[in-house]
């Protein structure tokens, strides 16, 4: 089976989960979106994806979840070699300063989005972070160019990444 780069959205309120996924649906064709409503479910999902040789490029994670909280999940992912490179975003209204600092320091948090968010803001952040991930972890970034930041990908090729003359 073909290896894919997944986006994982973890959010316990069904309405909010729906609206996040709706906003980033334009990425779905190239980066399949998977959803979970608790850290426990997210863990199983991550394991299943990794077992099938897929990668997780980006996680958008709420903080307050039933059971383990979002920051805990992100820190755990950071410690796991297979998911340490996953670009990690908190999308929440209720993470305290202490928790947020922990996410930055221990989970290499790439962005903090506070609810409510603007669609363009969310799409922009997702695009940049996925571009980051693709430029660092994919041999040929061309297939993703049209949904990602194509200027950055073109610049990467100009500097000798990706394809060369043949």
């Amino acid at each position: 089976m073909e290896q894919k780069i997944y986006i994982l959205v973890v959010e316990d309120e069904p309405d909010v989960l729906d609206s996040i996924v709706r906003d980033i649906l334009s990425f779905e064709e190239f980066f399949p979106i998977e959803m979970a409503d608790a850290a426990e479910e997210a863990r199983d999902l991550i394991q299943e994806l990794l077992d099938n040789d897929h990668q997780i490029g980006l996680i958008l994670c709420d903080h307050v979840l039933p059971g383990d909280n979002g920051v805990e999940l992100l820190v755990e992912m950071q410690k796991n070699e297979a998911t340490s490179q996953t670009r990690k975003v908190l999308i929440t209204g209720q993470a305290g300063l202490q928790e947020t600092v922990r996410a930055v320091n221990e989970a290499d948090l790439k962005h903090y989005i506070s609810k409510p968010w603007q669609k363009e803001e969310l799409v922009g952040i997702v695009r940049e972070l996925l571009t980051d991930y693709v430029l660092h972890h994919v041999k040929n970034p061309l297939p993703y160019m049209q949904v990602l930041n194509s200027e950055r990908i073109a610049e990467f090729i100009r500097k000798g990444g990706g394809p060369s003359d043949q």
Partner: protein, 462 residues
């Protein structure tokens, strides 16, 4: 491994073994060995069973084992005089490879100090604000840069220039497609203008050198640059005709500054001096491959180009070219190339038909295969036609070489035809059908023009 790769692997192995078990009348033992290598390389290159540069190294490796004096096969009872193995491995430092090395160092240093971008801003300025002239300007700049830099890197850089232009255009403006297509097309065309413009030129020039035909940098430009200019204008017309701009005015944002650090200035001077010496080779006679060592020396001794930069050079492209050169050597030295062309009675073909045949095969093949691979497979055959007297000596050889190299570069129908095409399609700004239509028209006109040049222009200057 995909199905195509498996097919390639199996066919490649069959191709390799076939000449070892079947005996062809009139072909020497060494010729059979060379054919094994040729068939394996052709299949592996076509199916990309392994990376194309890796096939090239495999070619050199097998030649050393099977065809060199130090190899495993005893040729003492045959007519074939085995070449020293150094002859095969020295293709990796062939003069044309050194010329390309110089070109790569200059190009990568230009990228490092944004010289390509500065040149683009400077050169685009005179083209005003009418969309059709902006497109012409974009094409000229792309072609000039890709004549000295890699077509792929030039395309990538120009894509960053056109993204904001296209973003400012109305979504329904057909000229968006013209803008997006003009870049890869101009890059493909610009590559033919100089020997270092694109790898197939290298393979052809090296094959000519092997026959004792020296091709000066300036002579190649004299042969090929006029055709590049005409083709640029043709491509411009075709694109504007198919995708006419809907508005009268387009704004270009040419902000940015020329870098003025010590190293950047060293680069500008080295670049200018090297190119000057290259294009005037006909006047002073210093070989371009010797001149090419100058930028490598100056840029590294001044640390303008450091160890990290050296590591990032596209070495695999040099390997790819070297493999193509090596393949030509074994086909010539073992008599394989001559044997292959002698099995067809060429006398029934007119001279022009022969050129047309090579042009068409080259154009078609390189639409699907790497341009360098196409040239590597065709040029040994083309050259042996000339040496066996079927076409007229040195001039005939030169023209067959130009036809093969230029036709390979005019292949731009599909996204897979060249990396610049692949990049343009990947931006999502145009569809494959747009590329197929205008790419086919331009390819056919290019082929026709090559043949016209071989009748009314080249015979008088070669």
């Amino acid at each position: 491994m995909s199905k195509t790769k498996w097919t390639g692997l199996i066919l490649g192995l069959i191709g390799f073994i076939f000449p070892l078990i079947v005996s062809f009348p009139g072909l020497s033992l060494a010729g059979h060995m060379a054919m094994s290598i040729f068939l394996m390389a052709a299949v592996f290159w076509m199916f990309e069973t392994i990376p194309i540069y890796s096939t090239s190294i495999l070619v050199i490796f097998f030649q050393v084992i099977l065809l060199s004096a130090e190899g495993f096969i005893d040729y003492s009872s045959t007519m074939y005089e085995p070449l020293p193995y150094t002859q095969f491995i020295s293709t990796l430092a062939d003069p044309i490879i050194i010329l390309f090395l110089g070109g790569f160092v200059l190009a990568d240093a230009s990228v490092k100090y944004d010289f390509d971008k500065s040149m683009t801003r400077l050169l685009l300025q005179p083209f005003g604000s009418q969309p059709k002239f902006i497109i012409l300007g974009l094409m000229l700049v792309t072609a000039v840069l890709s004549a000295f830099m890699s077509n792929t890197a030039t395309t990538a850089m120009m894509i960053t220039v056109i993204i904001p232009i296209i973003a400012r255009m109305e979504p329904g403006d057909p000229a968006r497609i013209a803008v997006a297509l003009c870049i890869p097309f101009a890059a493909n065309i610009g590559g033919i203008a100089t020997p270092i413009g694109t790898p197939p030129n290298a393979v052809v020039i090296a094959a000519l050198n092997l026959q004792g035909v020296e091709v000066a940098f300036s002579s190649w430009m004299l042969y090929a640059t006029p055709i590049a200019i005409i083709m640029l204008i043709v491509a411009w017309f075709v694109l504007l005709k198919l995708h006419p701009p809907a508005v009268e005015i387009l704004t270009l944002n040419l902000d940015g500054k020329l870098k003025k650090s010590r190293n950047a200035i060293i680069l500008y001077i080295t670049f200018g001096l090297t190119v000057l010496l290259w294009v005037t080779e006909g006047v002073h006679g210093i070989r371009s491959s010797i001149v090419a060592l100058m930028p490598v020396a100056i840029l590294t001794l001044s640390s303008a180009f450091d160890k990290q930069d050296i590591r990032k050079l596209p070495w695999e492209v040099l390997w790819l070219i070297a493999g193509g050169i090596a393949l030509g050597i074994s086909m010539k030295e073992t008599g394989l190339a001559e044997w292959m062309v002698s099995s067809i009675s060429w006398d029934q073909f007119g001279y022009l038909m022969l050129l047309a045949l090579f042009g068409i095969v080259s154009l078609v093949m390189s639409n699907f295969l790497s341009n360098t691979v196409t040239a590597s497979l065709l040029i040994p055959l083309a050259i042996s036609l000339a040496t066996s007297g079927i076409v007229d000596g040195v001039a005939g050889m030169m023209m067959l070489g130009l036809v093969v190299a230029l036709s390979a570069s005019f292949a731009m129908v599909l996204p897979i035809s060249t990396p610049p095409n692949a990049i343009a399609i990947s931006t999502g700004m145009l569809q494959t059908k747009h590329m197929i239509i205008s790419g086919s028209i331009i390819g056919l006109i290019g082929l026709a023009l090559v043949l016209i040049f071989s009748v009314i222009y080249w015979p008088f200057i070669v």
